[in-house]
């Protein structure tokens, strides 16, 4: 089994990145790094030692759920945006029905037009999300039209209460990272 269990220091470092990017404050999982800088979360009762012991006996293919990919920044997997949705506070882009139809078919989103920036109802907290056009708002966000660009870097895509993974934003365009097997067929 070619995996690396994240030490508490590594987990702390990852959590700090996730907190800075998305506001995620806790990851109550055993974290395992597999190939391609992918990190998986295991919520089962087996400890690291028990999993290693098990790997001596049987051929383990996969442990837990793929949640994060570490690149220049960290990118949550499609399912992690749902798993951790209650903790997500920053870099969320709300999309319209029309944009969802494009996004879920694997298209990039053009965000150069009609950008609005959402400021949270509580003024002291930093998180913000960006809305494109005029979708239904989450109740705790207070939309204000700003002529700034969308946040750069990895952003989370939300449509109403549903989360649709992450994309890479240049400020005017969001590159699609929906896995092929999770896209709608034409």
């Amino acid at each position: 089994m070619n995996v690396h269990f994240l030490s508490s220091a590594e987990k702390k470092e990852l959590l700090a990145q996730l907190e800075e990017q998305f506001g995620i404050e806790e990851l109550p999982y055993l974290l395992i790094e597999t190939g391609k800088e992918r990190i998986r979360a295991f919520s089962g009762a087996l400890s690291k030692e028990e999993l290693l012991d098990l790997a001596q006996l049987v051929n383990i293919e996969i442990i837990g759920l793929y949640i994060v990919r570490r690149e220049h920044d960290v990118r949550l997997s499609f399912d992690a945006t749902q798993l951790l949705n209650k903790q997500l506070k920053r870099n969320i882009v709300d999309i319209t029905d029309e944009q969802l139809a494009l996004w879920i078919r694997g298209h990039d989103l053009d965000t150069s037009r009609t950008l609005e920036r959402n400021l949270p109802a509580s003024a002291e907290s930093k998180p913000f999300s960006t809305v494109l056009k005029n979708p239904k708002q989450a109740p705790d966000f207070n939309p204000q039209v700003l002529d700034t660009a969308a946040p750069r870097g990895t952003v989370i895509i939300r449509h109403n209460a549903d989360f649709f993974g992450c994309g890479k934003s240049t400020g005017s365009r969001i590159a699609n990272h929906v896995p092929k097997e999770r896209r709608l067929r034409k």
């Binding site: 295991f42 009762a45 098990l54 759920l65 749902q82 798993l83 879920i104 649709f164 709608l184 067929r185």
Partner: protein, 333 residues
């Protein structure tokens, strides 16, 4: 023209004569057999299972009911939903909620083994022949992603499907292993690695899947049944080695062949310290049969559950539940 000839002209696939003869032995009343024969040439109903790891049945029901006519047929199992519409091919699989992993398309009879297993949070559970993962994800949902769920299968292409199912369902408490089932059991037994519950949904001749997979009409052959029955007995014997005392093993197949069903349970009752449990499932079940082709089975096999397609407008299944009364002690060679 005889009735049989009419049937053969009417349907694209027909039962092989020996298969028909066996089914007539299982369903001796003409009306009963006719109902079976009629329904196996129709498409199964569109059942889905709400993935409670991601969404509540109430919320999913509200969403889907705006698009389709949705029914929750079982009060105790609100996660089971029936879509009462004529759907286009692939419509259920290409819906947004399916891509989000909010539901899994699963035939209702195939949900019964996991319900019989009755998984609870924090248990240690093994799904020995897990791919494609429908029952595994159902078990994980009942465990609320806690405890430990080991999902095993043998072939890499099947493992890939299993992994995709668990990923889509947001399952985080599972370890997927790729091994021959006998090897897994014997290796774990040597290290005294035991489970609270085991699901053995055994590879079978698939007689219960005629509605969704009509090619089974063509592929069916009696030699396959004998070979499978031998393998199923071996699988069950090895699985019992890694079950805790008082633990539960659910043995299920999607076939009607008694050799693969009551015959296997009879073998377990004869050779191992197990007790067969009565089942309370939300489908119409017929009792297991106690004799077949001259062989008499332990009368307790009546407690097993035969699910016939025409009793529930479903696919066919067989479900049984065993309790291990005395733990196996692995003897060192």
């Amino acid at each position: 023209m005889s009735q049989q000839e009419r049937v053969r002209k009417e349907y694209k696939y027909t039962m092989k004569p020996l298969f028909e003869q066996r089914m007539r032995s299982l369903l001796p009343e003409e009306r009963d057999f006719a109902a079976f024969e009629k329904i196996v040439h129709t498409q199964p109903k569109n059942f889905i299972r709400c993935n409670t790891l991601k969404i509540s049945p109430a919320v999913l029901f509200e969403r889907l009911n705006k698009r389709w006519s949705v029914v929750q047929p079982f009060q105790s199992y609100p996660e089971i939903m029936l879509i009462n519409n004529a759907l286009l091919p692939g419509e259920l699989g290409n819906a947004l909620e399916h891509l989000l992993g909010y539901y899994y398309v699963q035939e209702v009879s195939s949900m019964m083994p996991s319900l019989a297993l009755n998984p609870k949070p924090n248990e240690k559970i093994l799904d020995l022949c897990a791919a494609p993962g429908s029952k595994t994800s159902q078990i994980a949902a009942r465990m609320q992603n806690t405890g430990t769920l080991i999902a095993n299968d043998f072939k890499l292409d099947r493992i890939k499907i299993l992994a995709a199912t668990l990923e889509r369902s947001g399952v985080s408490n599972a370890v997927i292993t790729r091994n021959d089932a006998i090897t897994v059991c014997s290796r774990l037994a040597k290290r005294n690695f035991k489970f609270d519950k085991i699901l053995l949904d055994a590879p079978c001749s698939g007689e219960g899947t005629l509605r969704s997979s009509p090619k089974t009409f063509l592929m069916w052959n009696p030699k396959m049944i004998d070979n499978l029955a031998r393998m199923q007995k071996k699988l069950l014997a090895f699985a019992l080695k890694i079950l805790k005392e008082g633990g539960t093993l659910v043995y299920s197949t999607c076939t009607h062949a008694p050799e693969e069903n009551e015959g296997v349970i009879n073998f377990a009752l004869k050779n191992f310290p197990v007790r067969i449990e009565s089942l309370s499932l939300p489908l119409n079940c017929r009792s297991g049969i106690t004799s077949w082709e001259g062989e008499e089975y332990n009368p307790d096999v009546k407690k097993t559950c035969r699910i016939y397609p025409h009793d529930n407008d479903s696919e066919g299944f067989f479900v049984s539940k065993l309790t291990l009364l005395e733990e196996f002690k692995e003897t060192l060679a």
